[in-house]
């Protein structure tokens, strides 16, 4: 059991990275009061999921590891191309979401001069 943990760290570091990104991103979204940081957290969260998908596509047979899914001479083993294609789409979705979020943030900042959620809530109850 004690040996399993370093081995896990060495062989499954991508999954650990994905988990850290997802958990850290979610924590930032929930805990931080600044809207820009919330959007950053949202991006980290999504990136963790992208990493998870790409890692899952990786393939290894004996000593050969899968090549990138672009057909090349003399290569027999490719990683699964489907998750890459899916994540390409998901990245586009993520970029457009970030664009809309930043547009809204600019509008909020112009109107109120702050991006802190708690300050905005106080201003709201004041009127």
């Amino acid at each position: 059991m004690m040996q399993a943990i370093p081995e896990l760290l060495l062989t499954r570091y991508n999954y650990i990275g994905a988990f850290l990104l997802i958990a850290g991103g979610l924590y930032l979204v929930v805990s931080d009061r600044n809207f820009v940081k919330k959007v950053i957290g949202m991006n980290l969260f999504q990136t963790g999921i992208f990493l998870f998908f790409i890692t899952a596509a990786f393939i290894e047979m004996g000593d050969t590891t899968g090549a990138p899914p672009v057909i090349t001479d003399g290569v027999d083993l490719y990683v699964s191309p489907l998750p890459h294609v899916l994540i390409l789409t998901a990245i586009v979705v993520g970029v457009s979401l970030t664009a809309v979020a930043l547009t809204l943030i600019i509008r909020i900042y112009r109107e109120y001069g702050t991006l802190r959620e708690d300050v905005l809530r106080e201003m709201d109850t004041d009127d």
């Binding site: 979204v29 919330k38 959007v39 949202m42 899952a56 899916l86 457009s96 979401l97 979020a101 909020i108």
Partner: protein, 504 residues
């Protein structure tokens, strides 16, 4: 005529792009383009509905790649009614928005994108494709919420965006787990491979189920992940709150029903009874919490929003109960709720335009000032409570029967309690409208459409009330009652499909 399926999704999106291009030259091209595309959408979904009644399940292979490798679009007895609902409600919103605004080409471009996204979620037969359409729907909805005049709507839109994105990302993660477990994304193929290639109670499949359902629950706005929804409904312009309240959560709930019924299938619940228990309890909690919070609200739009939390709890409970009776009730209530809630938001918008207020206290004596709208509001409210023969009654009746049939008495009891609470929050409005004397108005001589009560600033500014807007509300009220008589028709439509689902 299976081309109608792909046209119903691509049509509005192409129209949105055309509007963007034409908008560079012409100012007022948005509304006519949107009208054209939405009328076409009504026709296309009508064709889809007719074909499904005639021939059963329709399938379209995108780009000629045969499923499961290619992406498949599917119309069946579950998706066809929702597709028709989307087209009809969109048309009604368009009539309402003609006078009530928001104005400008940008609104109509985003409106068309939303129609396309909603149709996509409804008609897709591929789980990843569903994620993409959920996000198109989400993006358009966030932007529409933020079209309100004040920056408060931008805050509501941003909160909705952050929460909605987390939900959609959880859904995506769940799709990833399902893909790892089975190696496919096609829904029909997934339902075959789940249980054979991957055991139902394997950790991968359970994780996939949990993440997909949790992600969709955020989009449906079940308690306690509903927090985005009251703010979004309250601070968006009236036309947008009609549109979103009637369709966006509805389509997410449909997506959950589709995943439960045709991807994971009843066999999953038999293998993992815990999943069913948890979902039924979450839905029951949502029913109770939503209606209790609704009773506490003073703002009409927030009250209607919390009412949605509770009504969608009922729909999800129906899908989770997973017997034929309950699922029929769930579909009836899904469609019925969209019509009733859209109508109620439209009525609340007109009342705000007349009285300048969204406070329930200011509804006093409204029956004398606006008898038609007040009457339609009352009919819709009673339909929502579940007074027979309205559609709200039929849906709840089937769900309650399904709950009793499966021995889940708790859900039947929760339905009863929630009906009483629904009566409580609508009765106080109806009482004020019909029996309370109007408070003396200091500026009673002012022209009606511009009257404000001074205290509560209306966010969207006032707009005149057109006969078309009133007609929409009256039609919604008529439809809410008339649909109640078609409960058995919907049941017989769904019957062949459900027999197949439950035979496995």
């Amino acid at each position: 005529m299976t081309d109608a399926i792909v046209l119903a999704i691509v049509g509005p999106i192409v129209a949105a792009v055309l509007t963007l291009i034409l908008g560079l030259r012409f100012d007022a091209v948005g509304w006519p383009m949107a009208l054209l595309a939405t009328v076409a959408e009504v026709g296309l979904t009508g064709v889809i509905g007719w074909e499904v009644i005639q021939n059963g399940r329709l399938s379209y292979e995108l780009a000629g790649f045969a499923p499961p490798a290619g992406i498949e679009l599917v119309a069946d007895a579950l998706s066809a009614p929702v597709a028709v609902l989307i087209a009809v409600v969109s048309l009604a919103v368009l009539v309402y928005a003609r006078t009530a605004g928001p104005r400008g080409n940008m609104f109509y471009i985003v409106y068309l994108l939303l129609v396309g996204g909603l149709a996509g979620v409804t008609l897709t037969g591929d789980l990843f494709n569903m994620y993409v359409f959920l996000e198109i729907t989400g993006l358009a909805a966030y932007a529409l919420v933020a079209t309100g005049d004040t920056a408060k709507s931008a805050i509501a839109g941003l909160k909705y965006l952050i929460v909605g994105t987390i939900g959609a990302s959880l859904f995506l993660l769940g799709v990833g787990y399902a893909f790892l477990a089975t190696g496919t994304l096609n829904m029909a193929d997934l339902s075959e491979r789940l249980g054979s290639v991957a055991a139902y109670d394997s950790r991968l499949v359970i994780a996939a189920f949990g993440l997909i359902i949790a992600g969709l629950a955020v989009k449906v706005a079940l308690f306690p992940v509903h927090s985005w929804q009251p703010d979004a409904y309250e601070s968006s312009p009236d036309s947008v709150s009609i549109f979103i309240s009637a369709l966006v959560s509805t389509v997410a709930a449909y997506a959950m029903g589709r995943v439960l019924l045709t991807v994971f299938t009843p066999a999953f619940f038999d293998a993992v009874p815990m999943a069913r228990e948890l979902l039924v309890h979450a839905a029951a909690l949502s029913i109770l919490a939503g209606s209790t919070l609704a009773v506490l609200q003073q703002n009409i739009k927030r009250m209607l929003a919390y009412s949605s939390v509770s009504q969608f709890g009922m729909v999800i409970a129906a899908f989770a109960l997973m017997n034929e009776m309950a699922v029929v009730g769930g579909v009836i209530h899904l469609v019925g709720h969209a019509i009733m809630k859209g109508g109620l938001f439209a009525a609340a918008g007109i009342i705000a335009a007349i009285t300048g207020s969204r406070r329930i206290d200011d509804y006093a004596g409204l029956a004398n000032r606006a008898p038609v709208v007040a009457g339609a509001f009352a009919v819709l409210a009673f339909a929502m409570v579940g007074v027979p023969p309205a559609v709200g009654f039929v849906g709840k009746w089937y769900i309650a029967f399904g709950a009793v049939e499966s021995g889940t008495w708790a859900v039947a009891a929760v339905l009863l309690v929630s009906t009483l609470l629904t009566l409580a929050y609508f009765a106080r409005i109806i009482e004020r409208m019909y029996f309370a004397a109007p408070e003396p108005e200091p500026e009673a001589s002012a022209p009606v459409p511009t009257a404000t009560d001074g205290g509560e600033a209306t966010d969207e500014g006032e707009y005149p009330v057109s006969p078309g807007m009133v007609a929409i509300v009256v039609l919604a009220a008529v439809a809410a009652v008339a649909l109640g008589f078609f409960g058995t028709t919907i049941e017989s439509l769904l019957d062949p499909m459900l027999t197949e689902v439950f035979a496995q």
